[in-house]
């Protein structure tokens, strides 16, 4: 099963909408609630990163019998140093974004903690692709 959602950069009024749709579907499918909780945290953080840092993106969810895979791909500035961006507390968020309470530099660490496999690819001035997988058992 596959679902794809569009994410608009800069539109904080809709931030979280795609993650919320995915959550509804996972609940309907009776996926383990503990798995849903983790997946939702990781999806939300990746979605908000597109809104806060990129121009536009997509969230593509693939459901397999044993796992859920999410690919969040955006067009945007890219991440020059991924290892640095993964460090808790590192953020380049704008003052406007920080005023709203984003920009703690905890989003990527939250993603890492809440999925089983994480791959981030990024090209400066082109965009970023975050691929996360969470397994239903184990």
């Amino acid at each position: 099963m596959e679902f794809t959602y569009h994410i608009e950069g800069g539109d904080f009024s809709r931030a979280g909408a795609a993650s919320s749709e995915v959550k509804k579907i996972l609940k309907q499918l009776n996926i383990d609630l503990a798995v849903i909780k983790r997946v939702v945290v990781a999806l939300y953080e990746a979605e908000v990163n597109v809104v806060a840092h990129a121009h536009e993106g997509i969230m593509k969810i693939t459901l397999a019998p044993d796992s859920i895979e999410a690919v969040i791909a955006d067009k945007g500035p890219g991440i020059p140093d991924i290892a640095l961006a993964m460090q808790e507390g590192y953020s380049t968020a704008s003052p406007r974004v920080r005023e709203m309470g984003f920009g703690a530099g905890m989003g990527l660490p939250n993603i890492k903690k809440n999925c089983d496999r994480l791959e981030i690819e990024s090209t400066v001035n082109a965009g970023t692709t975050v691929k996360m997988t969470t397994f239903f058992t184990g």
Partner: protein, 118 residues
């Protein structure tokens, strides 16, 4: 304890999401950093914050928080209030600051009958 019991005990003003007033509050979390709440708050908790914009409702809904308590007299933005109504997650307001509000909520949850903590 239910949201409405805490509302009465702490004299909180209900702003929106009234149909969720019988939700059960199991604990609290205090933060104005959204990804801190996303990463560390737990289902059923009351979130104490001064952020009043719509994104707090996205987080409350995704995390299935019991209620949001806005401190220092803050009120939810209009679109925040309507999201609270449609999600049935109440937003309550207090003139107190986050320190005072957390202290009172902590005491209440630790000892609902009102006797003081050891």
């Amino acid at each position: 304890m239910q949201v409405k019991e805490i509302m009465q005990a702490l004299s909180l003003t209900p702003c929106s999401g009234h149909q969720g007033l019988d939700r059960e509050i199991t604990g609290g979390y205090v933060s104005d950093l959204l990804s801190d709440v996303m990463g560390h708050a737990r289902e059923g908790e009351a979130w104490i914050t001064l952020q009043a914009h719509k994104n707090i409702m996205a987080i409350a809904s995704l995390k299935e928080l019991a209620a949001i308590i806005l401190v220092k007299g803050r009120r939810p933005d209009e679109d925040t209030a309507s999201a609270s109504d449609s999600e049935g997650i109440p937003i309550l307001s207090t003139p107190l600051d986050a320190f005072e509000t957390s202290g009172k909520l902590y005491q209440l949850l630790a000892s609902p009958s009102g006797e003081s903590l050891p």
